[in-house]
Symmetry: C2
Subunit: 216 residues, 2 copies
């Protein structure tokens, strides 16, 4: 029984890592679809979001069943409850990739991103994908140092986000309000996605240590 | 022991309802602060968000402790796990009120909302506060009919949200990009807040019936 329980915990862990990988791929693909622009790829990401949602529902049902059947305590219970939280964050991160892909589709065959903002979008995507991958790795290895580094990585995202707003609000902005709105929302998708990843990192720390990090 | 357990469940229930009430008040106050504009009130809402965050942390710790100590099954376990989800949604709804208040503060002593958008902001706030109050009531009474109505109420929000974008993207828009960006984000705060409330409604349904509603 104990062994079966450990296998179940392991399988939840594997699913969370898998969800993280899919989210990272989805975000990278969504940005690619946005910048090329590539309708087929955008559709693929939009469809993939259902996979992530299904994984979350399935994972949560499984987690609850384990809690009900095994009455876990202390560290195991913490792992299980934290898993519920992580899966919710990962699902929201998937939604952000989904939003990026929907923007690509909505403006197709045009590219939603004006040339002037191409670099900043490439960078926001890079930082987002890095953070998602690092988050996934910190879940996988239960590495709390890595999990805490995410807060610093997120500072780079915040810088890019501020820079984006500066460009949008500059008097020289020449692409009109519709593009400004698209880019405001787009910036928020990357930024929110990174925020959720940082939140997952905090939960890794909590899962391992039984308390939240209060050092920063 | 059984009686103490029921008391603990009851106290979680009371806290969730209390959180919902505070969120509704915060959103109403944040919008008031935004439209007057009123710096003192904005500061109050910003501070109040810490209260909501603290309530969530305390509630979650309590819920986990109950799960650990009492090993609840079936309906009780479902109520407890659903409570964890609801508290996360309610906390995010509080964040949205917090964002509205921060916009009020950022643009003070100016009013962030141009005259032309005043009505639509008043309406988005009205719909958001109504939805939050109805959600809170559906938690309180475990009324699933009410919980399911929320989806329809949210249609009104979506309509207002689309109308807002139409105005922002109209050629006659005269307030520049900065205001358009502010209003894009503001619209999203109300709309996201309502979305989270709808999600809480779905969880009320799940809590009562043990499955999600698939009728719509």
């Amino acid at each position: 029984m104990r062994e079966a329980f450990q296998e179940e915990l392991e399988s939840i862990h594997t699913t969370l890592v898998k969800m993280g990988s899919i989210v990272a791929e989805s975000m990278a693909a969504a940005t690619k679809a946005l910048l090329e622009p590539n309708l087929e790829l955008a559709q693929k990401v939009i469809k993939e979001d259902d996979t992530i949602d299904d994984m979350q529902h399935e994972l949560d049902a499984r987690t609850m069943m384990i809690i009900a059947r095994q009455s876990p305590v202390a560290g195991d219970l913490r792992t299980l409850v934290t898993s519920l939280r992580m899966s919710a964050d990962l699902e929201r991160m998937g939604d952000m990739a989904h939003h990026v892909a929907k923007l690509a589709r909505m403006r197709y065959p045009n590219c939603a991103v004006p040339d002037e903002l191409r670099d900043i979008v490439i960078n926001m995507n890079r930082v987002a994908v890095n953070i998602i991958e690092k988050t996934t790795k910190s879940i996988d290895t239960r590495n709390t140092t890595m999990a805490l580094e995410l807060e610093k990585d997120d500072d780079e995202m915040d810088k890019l986000h501020r820079r984006l707003f500066e460009i949008l609000m500059d008097d020289k902005w020449q692409y009109g309000t519709e593009v400004a709105i698209d880019m405001t929302l787009l910036g928020r998708y990357y930024e929110r996605c990174a925020d959720h990843a940082v939140s997952v990192g905090r939960r890794v720390y909590y899962m391992v240590n039984g308390e939240y990090n209060t050092a920063n």
